[in-house]
Symmetry: C3
Subunit: 327 residues, 3 copies
Amino acid sequence: MNEGEGLQLDDEGRLRHFLTIEGLNRQTLLDILDTAESFISIGEREIKKVPLLRGKTVVNLFFEASTRTRTTFEIAAKRLSADVINFNVGISATNKGETLLDTINSLEAMHTDLFIVRHSDSGAAYLIARYLPPHVRIINAGDGRHAHPTQAMLDTFTIRRYKGDFTQLKVAIVGDILHSRVARSLIHALNILGVPEIRVIAPKTLLPTAVEKLGVHTFHDMSQGLEGVDVVVMLRLQRERMHGALIPSAQEYFNLFGLTRDKLAAAKDDVIVMHPGPMNRGLEIDSSIADGPRSVILPQVTNGIAVRMAVMALIMGGQTARNRRPV
Amino acid sequence: MNEGEGLQLDDEGRLRHFLTIEGLNRQTLLDILDTAESFISIGEREIKKVPLLRGKTVVNLFFEASTRTRTTFEIAAKRLSADVINFNVGISATNKGETLLDTINSLEAMHTDLFIVRHSDSGAAYLIARYLPPHVRIINAGDGRHAHPTQAMLDTFTIRRYKGDFTQLKVAIVGDILHSRVARSLIHALNILGVPEIRVIAPKTLLPTAVEKLGVHTFHDMSQGLEGVDVVVMLRLQRERMHGALIPSAQEYFNLFGLTRDKLAAAKDDVIVMHPGPMNRGLEIDSSIADGPRSVILPQVTNGIAVRMAVMALIMGGQTARNRRPV
Amino acid sequence: MNEGEGLQLDDEGRLRHFLTIEGLNRQTLLDILDTAESFISIGEREIKKVPLLRGKTVVNLFFEASTRTRTTFEIAAKRLSADVINFNVGISATNKGETLLDTINSLEAMHTDLFIVRHSDSGAAYLIARYLPPHVRIINAGDGRHAHPTQAMLDTFTIRRYKGDFTQLKVAIVGDILHSRVARSLIHALNILGVPEIRVIAPKTLLPTAVEKLGVHTFHDMSQGLEGVDVVVMLRLQRERMHGALIPSAQEYFNLFGLTRDKLAAAKDDVIVMHPGPMNRGLEIDSSIADGPRSVILPQVTNGIAVRMAVMALIMGGQTARNRRPV
């Protein structure tokens, strides 16, 4: 998947696609965060609209149903004045025997400008980006277990808003690290941004082998793992995991790894608690925490719009009519 | 449900949400009708668009499938220049175990401005309105058997257009009063607007107990009930009712309560016939009436767009950036 | 279906609906092609938007699922600045017992301006056009086996772009002529535009009886049929045909009628290969051809947007507020 690193930058180092956090440098991430900062105020205005993407066509190309994630991109694109097409591939021509690449090719031939791609296969967005001509831009909205880079950026954006600086922080990520594209992308981003201590807390069955290679410290116990942290990121536990041997029972999981007041007491007093949503209340997080004073879960959603607007604006900024494929 | 009455007005008596007709005063209803009157001409222009809601995000939050009602709100919002997000909750994160309130919270955190809510549970729109911060506005697009206030306003708007004045009218509402949110809301609106005689005509099995408390006269016979009326409002009979003991058979229902020329002859010569749609032709209404000279069923649809534009414009008019929740 | 011919022109011969190619004269088709030519450049601009249909409401009224075709019309309408409503009739009130015509009437009463209709029944778009008041315009996006006129126009537009002149061409259409609305509409268009030799190549089971009456030459053999042609149009073979007796097997069909390099060698050196999509690679067309230097399949898609914009702009051009039905 490391090829994606080169693919997403143009020759002058500007962001062309946004596929993965891996391989991006600190300045690129800071550019996204700073641009997002400038978009925050748009959501608070009377008229929440700027003309940056006017006359552009953005396609929500979702191979995996996710109304909420689609909605965040749809809102972000419309606030940039783009035209948005929701293309649900489950009910499209791929059902009629057309190949995925023929579908993509057809959409590109309609002079669409930006694809937001969600797919259950790791690497799908990357494959599409490699395949399409360079004037079409791709944002990965989640591919299998691989990456969810806009989520990592809204997470780090939220951390910076509350903590100011990355270089003194202890961040703990809790839960199903093994299957989580959110965790993978966030760990990469935190490393690049200079967070000195990243911890993952999970039962052994929910950790990838050799997870330490990602630059994290591993804990199997919440009281140790949360000790003195500034930020806790809870992951969603997919209930279907519980039908296998990965988790003994929902109750036992909650007892051991669910975030409660008792467990959170080990963290710093001004700890912030994050969750990418949708939450399983009473499974990975107690409602007293989710709705409590340390939760920044709803500000994450708000920030997600600004971050997605920023990524769209940045990767579309370099596009010129010059490099269009002639008819 | 009466709490909804206070909730939908702000401290200065302006409409903040539109949840139910109950508890609103005559002037508020007249304001809606008069505003709708000014929007009628927009639908007749070459360019059917005004910038009143430009830069606002309207969410169609439909928990119950209704393409046609959703379309009326979508058209109304787009003619006000709003951005519209169709959020079908059946296929959203609530399927992933997220609670309804978490879904609502997330949408609110995206700085959406107005929710159009349809739900099969009575009181759903009210619960959402009570739960959300006050700068987010709610329009009830139908909740269970409880209320459908925009339908009542388009009905009274249509009556006023054809009859001029409410205070001399006899209005008959025919059919499944028991299960009808349309009937409930309309009865409240007609009472508030000063209609002196409101009749309901239905078999006993389709009338709520103590229906007279709503301020109506009850009839079980069409020839008596329609005698001398100015307006007949036919209700949709949901076919699933016929599988129970409520109705003996479709044919017998039509014979007794279906609107035909013979039965309509008892009404005034200039009677108007209304129906909220979708119609069951041959069950509650004969095609000769539905398509006949006394029918104003299609003008109701036309008026529905203007009325929905008016309600949206009125409840959004008081919104300022001041009362936004900070990030 | 010939009534459609008169219906789609107004008294001064201007296009009012676009239902079928049959009965249109050469100048009308050339007007569409020339208008489309002027829209091609819009797709190549930085801001791909013109205000021609601003404030108009376009309804995608699809009774047959087709995400891709719907998307082409949605993109075309949005580039003309129209408001677009996707109305999927499968999940609408027609499920609740409402008649199709009541649904149409309701949409019309909302002051919608243009219906894009796809239906599995031949003649559906025509019926709707005949039924609705004349200020509502209809574009047939495919009705049963009957017609798909915008496809025929994008095909002829593509041919003219590559071949310049129609009057010296040999065009071969290959495959399931019997069930193809694409073939029917294209044959009419090519005849009207003066193509001197139109060939159809198909097994006897996939040809309509008396196909020669359409003004074509019939071939059952690819090497003879493709001899010296300038243009090859491959049709999509619907896989469900293979379950009947129409085709012996996919492999045998490909061997006899699938387009390969060997078979294409019989055509002129500068032949162009077209396909309406979605393709069944390895069934009616080999990938070496679909992706090869003679293929203009993706330019067809690009041209399809310009052609649909042109048709929309032309049929909406004559609309005035005068002829609106009063409320």
